[in-house]
């Protein structure tokens, strides 16, 4: 493969001078259509298209200096505001711009001190005292103080803001009640500033993962003055002060987000790259081509890697696959017959050979899932769950009143209409038909309709997935608590809720882990409102000889401050 990528240069416009020379050299060759009788007369006209191209492109000239690092980041960010963002692509940028009390360690993805230099936890595990760094500064040089943290956090639970990711704050005493309007006074919410540098946070229950959540993008510290002055345009009017390692230089829709190192960042010495471009690319083939041609240095995640080429790409030294905190599973609508019967749900689960799905369809290093919580979380071991057992499945189905599938009502398998989802759906459909004599009708839907159908419980069986928000089993298990907005199965089980509640009252330790394990056992071995199918594998493409600072970890947390290119771009 030949790479003709540009050499770095101070203005960027001449970045493609390499191509320019090649192109100009070829322009000298005869361009007339060979074989024509009038090549001399007609020949000159053939260069017209090229002249038009050269003459009419002033508006697409290069902008600014060449970046140190170019990352293909996924879809166009809907927002870079912690109160609005909802996706991973946005989260990476938000975390670079706005830091929380803690931040992610680039090697293991765990929390480490961020804007807070230290904290203490009370004996009952419910009261944190954070101490902010006295040297913490906004990118405009102003100090970051506890009032900034309180503004940012109260903004997230302010009902008027309509924040999409306020649920992490519900751990804080009365935060949820404040958002729903039950509690009106801020004084009753469990977050208070003792002084300019000390902050006290009181939780509803012990939550060993709270410190980790403080590194999560929705809990980042944002600039009050900028937001109040510019309202919804605060990220697009001028350059908002940043509390993180980078400042926002430019955000051009569907073109790029450009970040520059924040010189006032408390750990500026640890920030590796000065100028980073994040490209919003959604087509895997385009992403791969940009990488292969040297226009980009990193492809961030698996959705940007062409699935048809995964087998081939896996053999390359710049392809990286790793365990990832995410599970693919099926939801049953337990409010509909016959899926209200756990025996039917277990029978359908036992008939699925999950290994075939990961080996023949996904083929990206995924692992079959017997349980919902992916392995690898410290201090927690999931129950084994159910493995494929068609005989037991048939027996259960007969016990439920459908011997050999006789009398089983017509039902739908619901999924979003992407090819990869369809392939899985067809495979599962074939397994159920072969092993149980049940014929599922496939029901693909466009994404927004699919989401709506699922949340309205207008399905029989629906494909789903979940990526963990923090390194704790509850990021998966809480989903199926009665009343959780992400439950979407209609399933509510008193014992399950009690187990979660009891676990919530326990501090970190074996007793808490055991209660969570009991809850998960109920979920994936007995009741089965969901069928875990496989654990995701993370995938990235970058050349480790040229890119440093990207380390595989369960949450695929790769803070931009640690990522850098060694030497000039290829």
């Amino acid at each position: 493969m030949r790479n003709r990528a540009p050499a770095s240069n101070p203005r960027g416009r001449a970045a493609w001078s390499g191509e320019g020379r090649d192109f100009a050299a070829n322009r000298g060759r005869p361009l007339s259509l060979c074989g024509l009788e009038e090549p001399r007369r007609l020949g000159g006209i053939w260069v017209l298209p090229l002249l038009f191209l050269l003459g009419l492109t002033p508006g697409c000239g290069g902008r600014g200096p060449a970046p140190d690092l170019v990352i293909i980041n996924g879809k166009e960010p809907e927002s870079l505001d912690p109160a609005v963002m909802s996706g991973e692509a946005e989260g990476r940028i938000v975390q670079a711009l706005f830091e929380g009390l803690t931040r992610y360690n680039p090697t293991n993805g765990m929390a480490e001190p961020g804007l807070a230099e230290s904290w203490t936890l009370s004996e009952n595990g419910r009261r944190y005292r954070f101490r902010l760094r006295s040297e913490a500064r906004w990118s405009n040089g102003e100090p970051i103080r506890t009032k900034d943290v309180l503004y940012s956090w109260f903004r997230m639970i302010d009902p008027v803001e309509g924040s999409q990711y306020s649920s992490p704050f519900y751990l804080i005493r009365n935060a949820e009640a404040y958002q729903t309007g039950t509690v009106k006074s801020r004084a009753e919410v469990g977050m208070k500033a003792s002084d300019e540098l000390n902050l006290e946070v009181e939780l509803e229950n012990p939550a060993p993962y709270f410190v980790e959540l403080c590194a999560y993008a929705p809990m980042a510290v944002v600039p009050q003055q900028s937001i109040e002055r510019h309202r919804s345009a605060w990220l697009t009017q001028g350059q908002p002060p940043a509390s993180g390692a980078y400042t926002l230089v430019e955000w051009r829709l569907n073109d790029r987000v450009r970040l520059r190192k924040n010189p006032h960042y408390w750990d500026a010495a640890g920030v590796k790259s000065t100028l980073i471009d994040l490209l919003p690319v959604t087509h895997p083939t385009t992403a791969l081509n940009l990488y292969l041609s040297g226009q980009a240095d990193v492809i961030w995640d698996k959705d940007l890697i062409p699935s048809d080429l995964v087998e081939t790409l896996r053999k390359r030294p710049d392809f990286h696959s790793f365990d990832y905190l995410a599970t693919y599973f099926l939801r049953f609508n337990t409010t509909r017959k016959p899926f209200h019967d756990p025996r039917v749900r277990r029978a359908l689960a036992l008939a699925i050979d999950k290994r075939r799905i990961v080996e023949q369809i996904t083929r990206g290093g995924e692992r079959p899932a017997g349980h919902l919580v992916p392995p690898g979380l410290p201090g927690y071991v999931s129950p084994p769950g159910l493995s494929v057992d068609p005989d037991r499945a048939r027996a259960l189905l007969a016990e439920a009143g459908f011997p050999g599938g006789a009398g089983f009502p017509k039902f739908h398998y619901h999924f979003d209409s992407r090819k990869s989802q369809e392939n899985i759906a067809v495979q599962i459909q074939a397994m159920w038909e072969k092993e149980l004599g049940l014929r599922a009708e496939l029901r693909p839907q466009e994404w927004q309709v699919y989401l709506n159908t699922q949340s309205q419980l207008d399905y029989d069986i629906s494909r789903s997935s979940w990526i963990g928000d923090y390194n704790d089993p509850t990021t998966f298990l809480d989903l199926f608590a009665g009343g959780n907005l992400n439950n979407r199965t209609g399933w509510k089980h008193e014992k399950y809720d009690t187990l979660l509640k009891r676990a919530g009252a326990e501090p970190a330790g074996p007793a808490r882990a055991e209660l969570l394990r009991q809850a998960e056992t109920l979920l994936v071995e007995q009741e089965m409102p969901v069928v875990p199918l496989y654990f995701y594998a993370g995938m990235q493409i970058h050349d480790p000889r040229r890119i440093e600072g990207i380390h595989p970890n369960l949450r695929a947390e790769h803070p931009l401050r640690a990522v850098a290119r060694r030497g000039a771009r290829r």
Binding site: M1, R2, A15, W16, G18, E19, F23, N26, L33, G35, L36, E37, E38, L42, I45, L48, P49, F52, L54, L56, G59, C60, G61, G62, R63, E76, E78, S79, L80, V84, G87, P159, V160, E161, G162, S163, Q164, S167, Q179, S232, A233, T236, L253, N254, D255, L279, H283, T286, N289, L290, S293, Q295, W447, Q448, V449, L451, N452, S455, I467, N486
Partner: protein, 295 residues
Amino acid sequence: MIPVLLGISFVVFGMIRAAPGGPFDTARAAVSEEARDALRARYHLDEPVWKQYGRFLAQLVKGDLGPSLKYRHHTVNDVLSQALPVSMMLGVMAFLFALALGIPLGVAAAVGRGRASGWLAESAILLCISIPALLLGPLLVLVFAVGLGWFPVGLWNSPWHAVLPVATLGIFFAGRVARLMREGMMDAFGSSFVTAARARGVGEGSLIWRHALPIGATPVVSYAGPLLADLLTGSFVVENVFQIPGIGVFMVNSALNRDYTMVVGLVLVYAVLLLMLNLVVDVAYTVLDPKVRHG
């Protein structure tokens, strides 16, 4: 024009709201009732649709197409001001490319009729017309960007970034221009005007370029208006393949995202563009064709 635009806005406004799913539905975070209510109130989605439409029209009069419901830091006007110039530049360049390639190709096909050169030109025209942009774009990228490294794979940073997308977008239309040009030139060669010129001993080159071409180009001139309209509005695929920050990507995604304001805004802008171009074509006909001018 205004009644047409009003009709379009009314239909699109109603249709996009009738689609299931809303702009604030996400898979990752189920928005609480309170948050959802706050968002709906902020964007006036809690009002009856007729009232929302009235509000939209009132803003439209002031030239404001409203906020984007998905890209919430941007207004529809912001998006248009960033993306529309890119799409227009791409369209205009592809238009010029189509003319610059299509006209000589059509002339070559007509001049070389019955000979190898004519057959070659005919084949080239056929190829231009048959190969879809969805196939041509990746093919050009594979050969000229990834393989040979002559041009960038995608993005929109320098003149070199424009070459492959413009070729991809323009080549089909170049084929259509060439076909019209060839027919026009054939008619011209058969006309008494050209025959008389040939009898007067006018040289072959002068006969083609000075006498036959102006007559032969008439169908191409007629087609230029619709061609430009097609190119300005038809760059979705090319923008996606080459990651160009034009309006095409928004056009597709806004409907999928249920970005109500963006959908209506973009459709209206395209409608205005098409109406304006049709007007220009009508005026051009009047200027060029004496029969139209004199009724």
